[in-house]
Structures are given as structure tokens and as C-alpha cells.
């Protein structure tokens, strides 16, 4: 069933996004430094843009579709867990903060790998980093792409292939022609829609459920554990939930698509504003969307497929036009994640692989042509793979978040704040982090009741410190 009133706001949303892409393309063509403009938007982002692009990149399909589905089944305990994401709003920017901004300008770094390369002076670091970014983020891009297409499919009734093409064409056009500036500007629009959508749906759900008191009573009658911090089945232990602080709060510093944003803003004031706006934004979305999932239970009972909770609820409790705006939110979340990943993978291929190893003397026009082509080819490859995602890619996507954090977190943090950090420490900790994460995830997930990412992060920390100290001592002897 197609509701045109629902589709209409979605179409307007897509048109505005196209317009932004074309406007940004003008800036790209007029810019003096193509690389810095195309991949970093000329380092000109203000506070609001920085906050929105951080938030929108971080908030993905799982915040709007997957997350509410889980809280529908587990109750308030899952909202508690989701609130571990609040530090992603301030901690990341405070830690990377001014130091990263100053040093990345000094090194003239365009990508996270640029920074690592100049800090550690090692090609092996570049190769491991580039490899993990390309492999993991390519996989997670495909997963988000599939999610976007499924969402359009379920809202419009179009078949999967057509839905995928609509989604792909929109994203590819504005990212390819507009670069990072288009990504950041559309992120601002998408982030705003995400916040407004969350608030509207939360209010609508509370009204439809007859007020908070009424909804809580209904939950209490169904299963009192829905109201406890331990989850409806008691599976959310304090230790398990606490270790999520590492995965979705603190470790976010190690995600390249987030870190690169911390080198693209204009000045200190932008940073200060972004910290505050970003924290409020992330707090609102994560709290709102996950609470909505819990409240949805008495309002629309008996939904079997968790991913359908949010769309079903929206169509049920809101008038059609409002529903259209709210349903643009998950779409915005998916797009704003995908566009950042596409940009990042493309910059890795062009700047870190092509310019580093293949053709260091490329002229400006060569770089320009390569950048457009690489972005296009990667985009099209993702579309092709999304038509029928291979098993391996689905598996790699599961590793992506924790894998990248395990690989990059300490290399970035120690690279900035510890003088004795050296390439031996960085290389060994990246390898230990990556291998251990994949091994634990595969063979013993949630080892000792902690999230799989915990042990690899701690192990790579120890490895980094020990190896750096040992090799530092040796190199001072010589």
C-alpha cells in the first residue's frame, strides 16, 4: 500500500539533497586546493555543521531501525545501554580536540592515515590502516546500502532492485560531484531531520499510548522485568552493559570516519559549539529512539520482526504527512552514514594508496580525475554487491565497528599524547587488536560476560605501551 502523503515529504527531501550536491560542486570546481576541498571541505566547518556531521555519521540504521526493535523486546534496560553513547558527543571531540586540529594542519594531513603515516613514519602502518579501512568500511557500506533499500522497499512497495537504484543514484550523485562539503551540508539537513523525527515520534507515541503512566502500567502488567535495568529476560548484566561504553562511547575515537571529521573544522569556537550541540543531539536521538521502542510495545503489540517496529509504529500513530517526515529520519541516518563511508574509502584509495605508492608525482588534474573516478567506481561496486550481498561481506560488516576501533584507537590516542609512542608499538597493537577481535568475535563472543571488543582494546593497549617502551629503550642505546 502506497500512501502518497507519506512519500511526498521523502521526495522533497531527496530533491533538496540533490540541490546541495550541485551547489557544493561549484565550490569544488572553484577551489585552489582540490584534495583539501574535496576530501575535507576546505577545513571550513563551523560548530553546527561539525556537530551535525559527527552525529549523523555516527547515527546509522541501527539507531533508528535496529535499536528500537531491540528495546521493544528487552525494555528500559536497552535504553540504559543506548545511553552509553552520550560520550560519543563530547568525549571524542575533547580527546582529539585541538591537538588533532593543530597537528593535522602542521602535517597537512587530509586523511587519518596521513596523520598516522607522518606521526609514525612507517609504510607498514599505512598498509595495515588502508587495508582495514577499505575492507571493513566497504563491507559496512554495503550493509547500510541494503538497509536503505529495504526501507524504501517497505515504505513504497517498490521492488528491492528499484528501491536500491533510487537510493544509490541519490547518494552517489551528490557525493561524487560535491565531495566532503556536500556530505557535511547534507549531514546537517539529515541530522536536523533525525532530531525532529525523533521528537515528533516520541510525542506521538506517548499520546497514542495514553500517557507515560498508562504505558508503564501496561508494561508492568505484561512483564515487570521490562521496567528493570536487566532486560525482560535478565540478560543485561551490569558488566555486559558497562563494556558497551568502550564499543559505542569511548572507542568511537578510533573510527576513521569520525576521526577525520575532527580535522575538518574551522576554529576553537566551532569545536566548543560542536561539543555542546553534538551531545544534545546524540542524547536526544539515542534516548528518544530507544525509549520509543519500549513505549511502542503496548501501543502496537505483537510485532514479530524487530526491524518493523519503528516503521509500523510511525504509520500507526502519526498522520500521513508527519509520518513521511519521521520516516525520512532513518533514511537520513542511513544516507549520512553511507556518504561518509564512501568519502572515506575513496580518500583512502586516492590519497593513501594511489598518491603514496602508485604515483606520488600525480598532477592536480590527474588527482582530480582519479578522485571522481575512484568514488564512482567504489559506489557502483557497492551497488552491484548490494543486489546480492555475498556471505563474506556480511561477516566483515559485523567485524567492522569493533575491528576498526581495536586497530586505530591507541595508534591515534598515543600518537597524539605520548611522545614515546613509536611505529613498533603502533604496528604490533594494530595487529593484536584486529586479530584478537576477529578471533574472539568468531570463537567466543562476549567472553567472560563482556562485549567482544573489551579484551582486544585492553590487549592492544598493553601491547602498544610495552612494545613502545622496549623499542624506545633499545633505540636510545644505539
Amino acid at each position: 500500500m502506497i500512501h502518497w502523503q507519506v512519500i511526498f515529504p521523502l521526495i522533497i527531501f531527496l530533491i533538496i539533497i540533490f540541490a546541495i550536491g550541485f551547489w557544493a560542486n561549484k565550490q569544488v570546481r572553484n577551489s585552489e586546493s582540490f584534495l583539501q576541498e574535496y576530501f575535507l571541505g576546505g577545513r571550513e566547518m563551523g560548530g553546527f555543521l561539525l556537530a551535525m556531521t559527527m552525529m549523523a555519521t555516527y547515527g546509522s540504521a541501527s539507531s533508528f531501525i535496529g535499536g528500537p526493535g531491540v528495546s521493544y523486546n528487552l525494555g528500559l534496560g536497552w535504553v540504559l545501554l543506548a545511553m552509553a553513547q552520550l560520550p560519543a558527543g563530547y568525549f571524542v571531540l575533547m580527546i582529539l580536540g585541538k591537538k588533532f586540529a593543530i597537528i593535522s594542519r602542521r602535517y597537512q594531513a587530509i586523511t587519518l592515515i596521513d596523520f598516522l603515516k607522518k606521526r609514525y613514519n612507517s609504510n607498514i602502518v599505512v598498509i595495515i590502516s588502508a587495508f582495514s579501512i577499505i575492507v571493513f568500511l566497504f563491507a559496512s557500506m554495503t550493509a547500510q546500502w541494503v538497509g536503505g533499500a529495504r526501507l524504501i522497499e517497505s515504505l513504497t512497495g517498490l521492488n528491492y532492485t528499484v528501491a536500491l537504484l533510487i537510493f544509490a543514484v541519490t547518494v552517489l550523485v551528490y557525493v561524487i560531484i560535491g565531495g566532503f562539503r556536500a556530505v557535511a551540508l547534507t549531514d546537517a539537513l539529515q541530522g536536523t531531520i533525525m532530531i525532529i523525527g525523533t521528537v515528533v515520534l516520541l510525542i506521538g507515541t506517548i499520546i497514542a499510548g495514553g500517557g507515560i503512566n498508562h504505558i508503564m502500567d501496561a508494561l508492568l502488567n505484561e512483564n515487570p522485568q521490562m521496567l528493570s535495568p536487566f532486560g525482560s529476560d535478565g540478560s543485561l548484566t551490569p558488566l555486559y552493559v558497562s563494556t558497551f561504553w568502550i564499543l559505542i562511547g569511548l572507542g568511537v575515537i578510533g573510527l576513521p570516519q569520525i576521526a577525520v571529521r575532527a580535522m575538518s573544522y574551522k576554529d576553537s569556537k566551532s569545536l566548543h559549539r560542536a561539543i555542546l550541540i553534538g551531545t544534545i543531539g546524540i542524547g536526544t536521538i539515542m534516548f528518544g529512539m530507544h525509549l520509543i521502542g519500549v513505549l511502542a510495545r503496548p501501543v502496537t503489540p505483537g510485532i514479530e520482526i524487530a526491524d518493523k517496529v519503528m516503521p509500523t509504529l510511525t504509520l500507526e500513530v502519526l498522520p500521513p504527512v508527519l509520518a513521511g517526515i519521521v520516516l525520512a529520519a532513518p533514511m537520513a541516518a542511513i544516507m549520512s552514514t553511507v556518504n561518509a563511508l564512501l568519502m572515506l574509502v575513496s580518500s583512502t584509495v586516492v590519497k593513501d594508496v594511489y598518491l603514496n605508492f602508485i604515483n606520488p608525482k600525480a598532477t592536480d588534474s590527474q588527482i582530480k580525475a582519479r578522485s571522481f573516478w575512484v568514488t564512482t567506481i567504489i559506489g557502483l561496486a557497492v551497488v552491484l554487491l548490494s543486489l546480492n550481498p555475498p556471505e563474506l561481506l556480511i561477516m566483515l560488516n559485523l567485524f567492522a565497528f569493533g575491528g576498526l576501533e581495536s586497530a586505530f584507537l591507541w595508534a591515534v590516542v598515543f600518537g597524539l599524547y605520548w611522545k614515546k609512542a613509536n611505529k613498533y608499538g603502533a604496528i604490533s597493537s594494530m595487529i593484536v587488536g584486529l586479530v584478537l577481535y576477529i578471533a574472539i568475535y568468531q570463537f567466543s563472543p562476549n567472553m567472560w560476560g563482556m562485549h567482544s571488543v573489551t579484551i582486544p582494546i585492553l590487549a592492544s593497549l598493553v601491547t602498544f605501551v610495552v612494545i613502545s617502551l622496549v623499542t624506545h629503550y633499545k633505540s636510545t642505546l644505539n
Partner: protein
Amino acid sequence: MRDARFKIANREALIGVVLVIINFAIWFGFAYGLGSGDPTEYTMILGFPAWFFYSCIAGTIFMIILIWVAIKVFFKDVPFTDEEEDI
């Protein structure tokens, strides 16, 4: 010799660490301190269980205010480019 801006940056990073510790303490303390009993006997505040209200709602608002104050009081404006170092 040492860049004075890095001293500021280091201090602000430390403030970030302190804020996260406070954030975690509020979140954990209220959730498991007040929420460990029998759900049918929870005290309710504004319709929510008290643990949830303090840990996820009041705690989040408190953190946002704290972050705002920290930025106003402790965070300094510094230039990012190297030419203007003599300030």
C-alpha cells in the same frame, strides 16, 4: 620550546576524561543502585521508574549542563595554524 597550545589541549583532553568518569558514575550508580529491587515496587517519578529517571533523564541533562559549564570556564580559544604562534 614546547608549544603552549599543547598544554591547553592536554588539559582539555583530561577534562574530557574526568567528564566521562562522572558520566559513567551517575549512569551506573542510579541504574543499578535504585533499579536492583523488585520492579513491581519501584518508586515512579513523572511516570518513569526512579532508576531510569535519574540515570537516563536527569543524569543526561546534568551532563549537558556540566559540559556547557566546563567549556565556558576551562576551554580556551587557540589558533590552529602554526604562523600565529607568537601570541
